[in-house]
């Protein structure tokens, strides 16, 4: 399926012309908006684009350059095109884009998906694509009828001559339309005329996901495909000293044992013999520098680092000059562990390396990096490498890797075998495979004046950086501070006259990575916990206290007021229940949650309900936003209750879902989502719901126990009342 589509798409790109009786729209796009998060100032090149194909059968295929990993990109981006095109939604299809510079992420400068950007970053480009298509079709119809294009209108896949009622379907017009050139600047629809944008349109990818036909990377079929599992070092940074594969090769179905840079691949004619082969492999490992890594000693190391001044991320006012004036002071530390992304589909990649070509099928968030890495390994030119993006069985950042390791493994093994190979990671490989959300230690102190207002806030963050020493450094590290390590704390919205936020980089070694909501996944827990602590010290209501400190931020206030109102904050909470609030801005959107919890007879935390308010600016698909908020609650709650990767003798202690637990059906709270009608700049929705979950829940628990939870995940002792 992928092969056929990609061959034809390549052709489209080269010719930008009529292929197979269809129309491919070629047009120019305007320079792109500033995207400060990724250090992009402007995209100045005018690239020709190829996002729409219309067939003579009236089928409109939108070629989507953002990977579908559950966030709904294969629906929301076609919605943008379909609206401007006045398409008949029942005729709209999606197709994953091949790798080509025209499909680059406008902010990343390469093809990729992440940072909760897919919809807002394509808002203009995809609407323009639709408008260009509409222009060409209308011109084609007008020429056919010999009338002025201005006397024609479009509706549900037809061009209609208003005066005479004559109509032609888009499919009937493709041949003529292909010869027409759309102007660069097109008038876009008045928002009041939107047919799809802002409406709860059903996802286009649901039907195939409920009958077993959806193709994820792990499902790709290629003739003569081999399967490989890889034995990787038990300690990060380790290497195989020697290995004995004699027992492995005796297992029926095992074909070969191949050493690659990241380990030893057992190649077989299916998963099961490869698994049995790997179990039978004897390896002597050189465990390397992290062989004695232990979570308890690492925790002490982080605490010591927090006493160092660190690189300054934010400095406002002068803490030393006001410290004496504080009536109340709080000095505390917060700890958050390493976390695995644990997408449901374990990592995998199919590669087929030949003398003059390399073909890859993979569920990835970073197509360009993967393709360039494959070219480097094979010695082929980038244009000899073809990469097909399949559906992703979850991403959460795990499939956006700078070293393309899960692609590199498959390419290396295929190159050695001279055959197509699918490398599959087991769940244990995934949980123990690194690229975790960095472990973080926060040391924080604050002082209040007599009225309870904060006088100062001193915050020292210790965590690893996955940007330093990589191509990301130039974009993400400024004045010695990795912005992804301090985001959410360095840009504190609360009014604190004297603020100091610093970062100490923890030693690297354990591979770390962006994990759904990145730095905010730990900073929001600390900031929103600490604000609650200050409210308590000031003897103020946590909602009202936040309101007081957010006076200069109408957008945040609006979200905060909405969530408080919808959750009935002014009414007392039911007996035996605790209620907590938290708010956080990230990825251009503001999300607040109110959580309601109780402690069960079995001494577990029950989260009954989470009321959510989000301001993400322009809404494209409200049902997708709701779905993402529900998902964010489950993801954040999993981290709050269970998520933890720890080390002993250099080894990851957790290995599968029994000891790296994920929230289950019986633990899912009722989630009630309120989307603000907003004129704010458009933001993301995939991630910003995650950061405020854990603090809202733990602030609710505080109401029941009187004890502050400052370390995640939750421990049984945290549920006991303060003595």
């Amino acid at each position: 399926m992928y092969e056929m589509n990609n061959a034809s798409r390549r052709n489209f790109l080269k010719t930008t012309a009529v292929v197979g009786g269809g129309l491919l729209l070629g047009f120019h796009m305007p320079a792109f908006a500033r995207n400060s998060r990724f250090g992009i100032t402007d995209v100045t090149n005018f690239a020709p684009n190829a996002f729409i194909r219309i067939g003579t059968d009236d089928i409109i295929t939108v070629i989507v350059n953002h990977s579908e990993m559950g966030q709904g990109a294969y629906t929301s981006l076609p919605m943008l095109v379909a609206d401007e095109l006045d398409a008949d939604w029942s005729k709209v299809r999606f197709e994953s884009a091949p790798v080509d510079p025209v499909y680059n992420h406008p902010g990343f400068g390469m093809q990729g998906t992440g940072g909760s950007t897919s919809t807002w970053v394509e808002w203009d480009r995809f609407r323009n694509a639709g408008a260009a298509g509409r222009y060409m079709l209308v011109e084609a119809a007008a020429q056919t009828w010999g009338v002025d294009a201005a006397t024609c209108k479009t509706e549900k896949g037809f061009v209609i001559h208003t005066a005479t009622g004559r109509k032609l379907s888009y499919g009937q017009l493709v041949d003529k339309a292909a010869a027409i050139k759309a102007p660069e600047k097109l008038k876009l629809k008045d928002p009041k005329d939107y047919k799809f944008i802002g409406k709860p349109v059903k996802r286009l990818d649901t039907p195939e996901k409920i009958n077993g036909t959806a193709i994820f990377g792990i499902d790709v079929k290629v003739p003569n495909l081999l399967t490989a599992l890889i034995a990787r070092p038990p300690v990060f940074g380790g290497k195989a000293k020697s290995f004995n594969a004699s027992k492995v090769k005796a297992i029926p179905g095992v074909i070969e044992v191949v050493e690659i840079d990241r380990g030893i691949a057992i190649v077989a004619n299916g998963f099961w013999p490869a698994k049995l082969g790997r179990d039978a492999l004897d390896v002597v490992w050189d465990e390397g520098a992290l062989a004695s890594l232990d979570s308890s000693t690492q925790a002490k190391q982080y605490e010591e680092l927090a006493n160092q001044p660190g690189a300054v991320a934010t400095k406002e006012g002068d803490i030393a000059s006001v410290k004496e004036k504080a009536v109340k002071t709080i000095e505390v530390a917060y700890d958050l562990p390493y976390l695995a992304h644990a997408p449901m589909e374990p990592l995998n990649c199919v590669a087929d390396v030949k003398a003059d070509s390399c073909e890859i099928w993979v569920g990835t968030q970073f197509q360009t990096v993967d393709l360039m890495t494959a070219a480097h390994i094979t010695g082929l030119k980038p244009n000899q490498v073809k990469l097909h993006t399949t559906l992703l069985g979850g991403g959460f950042g795990r499939r956006a890797v700078l070293d393309a390791h899960f692609v590199s493994e498959a390419v290396q093994v295929s190159k050695a075998m001279k055959a197509p190979v699918k490398v599959i990671w087991t769940r244990e490989d995934d949980i123990r495979g690194g690229y975790y959300r960095p472990k973080a230690h926060h040391k924080i102190s604050a002082g209040l004046d007599a009225s309870g207002k904060p006088l100062y806030w001193q915050h020292n963050i210790v965590c690893q950086s996955f940007a330093v020493g990589t191509p990301l450094e130039a974009m993400m590290v400024k004045d010695g501070v990795d912005s992804t390590a301090v985001e959410g704390a360095s840009d504190l919205p609360y009014h604190i006259p004297n603020l100091h936020v610093a970062w100490n980089m923890a030693p690297n070694g354990v591979p770390t990575l962006w994990w759904r909501s990145v730095g905010s996944s730990h900073t929001a827990f600390v900031v929103e916990g600490m604000i609650d602590e200050l409210a308590k010290a000031a003897d103020k209501d946590p909602y009202q206290y936040r309101r007081m400190l957010l006076e200069k931020h109408p957008r945040l206030l609006n979200v905060l007021d909405t969530v408080a109102e919808k959750a009935g904050w002014k009414n007392p909470v039911a007996a035996g229940r605790g209620r907590g609030i938290a708010i956080h801005e990230s990825f251009g959107s503001v999300v607040a949650h109110v959580a309601e919890v109780s402690i069960t007879k079995n001494n577990t935390l029950k989260v009954h309900k989470v009321v959510t308010a989000i301001d993400c600016g322009q809404v494209v698909n409200p049902d997708t936003i709701k779905a993402q908020m529900e998902g964010c609650v489950a993801f954040g709650l999993t981290a709050a209750l269970y998520g933890e990767i720890t080390f002993e003798k250099g080894r990851v202690k957790q290995r599968n879902f029994h000891d790296y637990k994920i929230l289950r059906m019986n633990e899912m709270p009722l989630v009630e989502v309120h989307i603000l009608d907003s004129k704010e700049k458009m933001g993301g929705v995939g991630e910003p719901g995650v950061p405020p979950v854990a603090p809202a829940v733990m602030n609710a628990l505080f109401m029941l126990t009187g004890k502050r939870v400052r370390s995640l995940p939750l421990r049984p002792d945290d549920l006991k009342k303060k003595a």
Partner: protein, 155 residues
Amino acid sequence: MINLKVNGKAYQVDVDPSTPILWVLRDTLGLNGTKFGCGMAQCGACTVHLNGDAIRSCVSPVSRAAGKEIMTIEGLSDDITKRLQEAWIAEDVPQCGYCQSGQIMAAAVLLRNKPNPTDNDIDLGMSGNICRCGTYQRVRNAIHRAAKMKPKAVK
């Protein structure tokens, strides 16, 4: 050789009898709708029906299925399945979609045993199926919706 019946079709497979049903379905028969998630009966992504019961195919040796009927997501076509699939679309349940075959296989058994399940029944019947995207609320709503639907015609 092991004789299997999968989705009503007879097969003879020449594999090690200890091979999990999951890998016979995927690697030998090419039926990829059943997913690999954990390999130790923790997540339910590999759920299939064996003589009508929901089982975890990732830990069930193929020898266990000899002479029995396996039903996978590709073969489901009864009234309950049709209602579930319609409800899944109405609630727009899937996000990434990877766990959804297993969710529907589990839900089908639940609805057969409990035609009008309570929330507690759904908790009991579905808590073996992990969804990392967190679609649980929609899975729950879709099961309730399917339970209320009129029976569908079956070919």
